[in-house]
């Protein structure tokens, strides 16, 4: 933990050096110069509102992408026949630029919340599917045979035999997923929503207000770091408890 904090301070020091060398607050303000705008956005309620809107979109897209990707990935990992059919689709969607999907969703569905969340979800599903498919392929056939011979019921079998085997893959997909999803949400908001961090960045980009762009983006990075530290890392530690015992 100490090294992580030191590392973050080193990044901050780099920022200070860069701001000093630039010597133009309109291009790169000092970190301390963000305190005022941050406080005013926070107390006006704008920052919490836009943070909440983006967080809501991230949460929806994350839940949908993880659920659909988990099912598809497991099916493709366990059943080679399904994998043969769906693998070309996966390759197409993996290589489809995020921007194309976003634009198409807005064109086909309209500039609304549904299109925004579907666009982000569709962007993330192939990635989750690919990671979970590897988990499905790595399932131990002897444990499957054990479950079959002892006639384990489906629910306990899924919970105690399958899920723990794919838990590291789910954790990897979740951690990489949440990082990618919020970045795509910002693009979606930038292009077609009237609230959220992406919309605010778009607004202050047009006003060439670097300080406010940094205030909004850094605030959301802080939120995502909290999600990582408070939820994802403890969950991952819990799934790995047996390895460290």
């Amino acid at each position: 933990m100490t090294i992580r904090i030191l590392s973050l301070f080193a990044l901050l020091a780099l920022w200070v050096v860069a701001a000093t060398l630039t010597a133009d607050p309109q291009i790169l303000p000092m970190p301390t110069a963000l305190a005022g705008p941050f406080w005013s956005e926070l107390t006006s309620g704008d920052l919490p509102y836009h943070l909440a809107m983006t967080a809501l979109r991230v949460a929806w897209a994350f839940l949908l992408a993880m659920s659909i990707g988990l099912i598809l990935g497991l099916l493709m990992g366990i059943f080679p026949g399904i994998d043969k059919w769906l693998d070309p689709w996966l390759v197409v969607f993996l290589n489809l630029p995020a921007l194309v999907l976003i634009v198409l969703c807005y064109l086909w569905i309209g500039l609304n919340e549904t299109a925004a969340i579907i666009a982000v979800t569709l962007n993330k599903i192939p990635n989750v599917t690919t990671i979970i498919r590897e988990g499905g392929r790595a399932l131990d056939p002897n444990l499957a045979a054990m479950g079959k011979v002892f006639a384990m019921r489906r629910r306990p079998y899924l919970r105690h035999v399958i899920l723990p085997q794919i838990a590291p893959f789910i954790a990897a997909a979740a951690r990489s997923g949440i990082a990618v999803i919020w970045k795509i949400v910002l693009v979606v908001e930038f292009l077609g929503r009237s609230d959220g961090i992406g919309f605010q960045i778009h607004l202050y980009f047009q006003l060439f207000d670097v300080a406010m762009v940094l205030v909004y983006s850094l605030s959301f990075i802080a939120v995502m770091l909290l999600v990582e530290w408070l939820f994802l890392q403890p969950w991952e530690r819990r799934t790995r408890r047996w390895r460290e015992a």
Binding site: L143, A145, M146, V149, F150, H160, P164, R243, A245
Partner: protein, 196 residues
């Protein structure tokens, strides 16, 4: 309890087993021997029902248990859970008793990774016998153990089989294990393999 009538078993175009017929009665123990790669484990998989692609019929009780070459435990669950999750009708005290019978009492809350290989094998035996199966299938259950531990395990298995009386079929490379545990020894030979 086990009635095997296999006309043929192939992998692709390669025939592995042909014309294999035998029966194992309740309480009887049959050892299968033969050179490596001849199809002994394949035969066990057919009897266990984990491979259903063959020509012929196998009639076998549904109350089955298996002991693999490797312990094949759930490493993320405790020793006690490795028994109770597989045998849901078993009470915790009965599961503890099963652990005690194989000599690993008090290891209830330990994960398999915290146990020695010998203890893991004992846990695997405890899991197999805890449900009092009518059919027991064992695939080289004492392989890669030192001779002293293997000897202890064979003795333990003899006691458990005597107490539980399942129809037992097991594969081994050890003549000694086959003679000690088996009421009958069947030898697989030839290509495709058949019973001598």
């Amino acid at each position: 309890m086990i009635k095997v009538n296999i006309a043929s078993k192939s992998f692709g175009t390669t025939a592995i087993l042909r014309d294999i017929q035998f029966e194992v009665a309740a309480g009887e123990t049959v050892a299968i021997v033969g050179r490596s790669g001849i199809g002994k484990s394949t035969l066990l998989k057919l009897i266990a029902g984990t491979d259903t692609h063959f020509t012929g019929t196998i009639n076998c009780s549904k109350s089955k248990a298996i002991v693999f070459q490797e312990p094949t435990l759930l490493p993320w669950r405790t020793s006690l859970q490795n028994i109770t999750l597989v045998h849901e009708t078993l009470s915790v005290s009965e599961a503890r008793e099963a652990l005690a019978r194989v000599g690993i009492a008090g290891k209830d809350d330990m994960f398999p990774g915290q146990l020695s290989l010998g203890q893991q094998r004992r846990l695997s035996l405890a899991r197999a016998f805890a449900g009092r199966p009518e059919v027991l299938i064992m695939d080289e259950p004492f392989v890669s153990l030192d001779s002293e531990t293997a000897n202890e395990m064979v003795s333990l298995t003899e006691i458990l089989i005597r107490d539980t009386r399942p129809a037992t079929i097991f594969v081994t490379h050890s003549e000694d294990e086959a003679q000690r545990l088996g009421d009958r020894v069947l030898t697989l030979s030839g290509s495709p393999a058949t019973l001598l």
